[in-house]
Symmetry: C2
Subunit: 125 residues, 2 copies
């Protein structure tokens, strides 16, 4: 069982690793058989290779993540956090409002990630 | 298919109905066969009677909900929102940091709700 404190630390590590542009450290937060659905409603990525490729592309945007509110845990094996993604898309500064939900395996790795954001959550700034 | 705008409106209605203490209006946001897992990790409530009883108890606390950040939608049939719950528990003013994730059926009703908050998300203020 992964503790509440471990889940919170692993959520914060996602933000920090992303902002350090540390691709390998992001991917290491995931279990080898994890899935990523970002955004929810798109085809999930599954397994280490697909997840690595997904974050390689994501980091190439130069995006920066900022928590919108404190990380939430749960009474189970899941946690959630609201954050903003700031990026430049084709010369335009943009912000995306996102909520990520992660589930955890017993080793404290993410077994799944779902990113909730829709077309109207991405806006020019 | 429920539109992004319909999902956002139905999420905002949850906050507004709760703060008006309108039990029937909250329950009417749910499909008849919906499930509620609040907090995640507790036994889910299923169906209209259990959901009605859950919110009757919740409203008796006098809790007030305030969004922490804009509601997030998705590219699918789901939306999410971060909010704070202010309540008085045994004479002590408390706040709970929560993220709710709702999935929607084709009629725009919630088919499921999961509330992410852990023991450490509830604090005295």
């Amino acid at each position: 069982m992964t503790t509440e404190a471990q889940m919170r630390a692993a959520m914060q590590a996602y933000i920090d690793n992303f902002n350090r542009q540390d691709l390998e450290a992001i991917v290491d937060l995931y279990a080898d058989d994890a899935t990523v659905e970002d955004p929810v409603g798109s085809p999930p990525k599954a397994g280490r290779d697909e997840i690595h490729a997904f974050y390689q592309t994501a980091l190439e945007t130069g995006a920066r993540l900022t928590l919108s509110a404190p990380i939430r845990a749960s009474h189970g094996n899941a946690a959630a956090m609201a954050f903003e993604v700031a990026l430049n898309y084709q010369g335009q500064d943009m912000v995306i409002h996102v909520i990520d939900v992660m589930t955890f395996n017993d080793q404290g790795k993410y077994s799944s990630m779902k990113a909730y954001w829709g077309p109207e959550d991405m806006k020019p700034v």
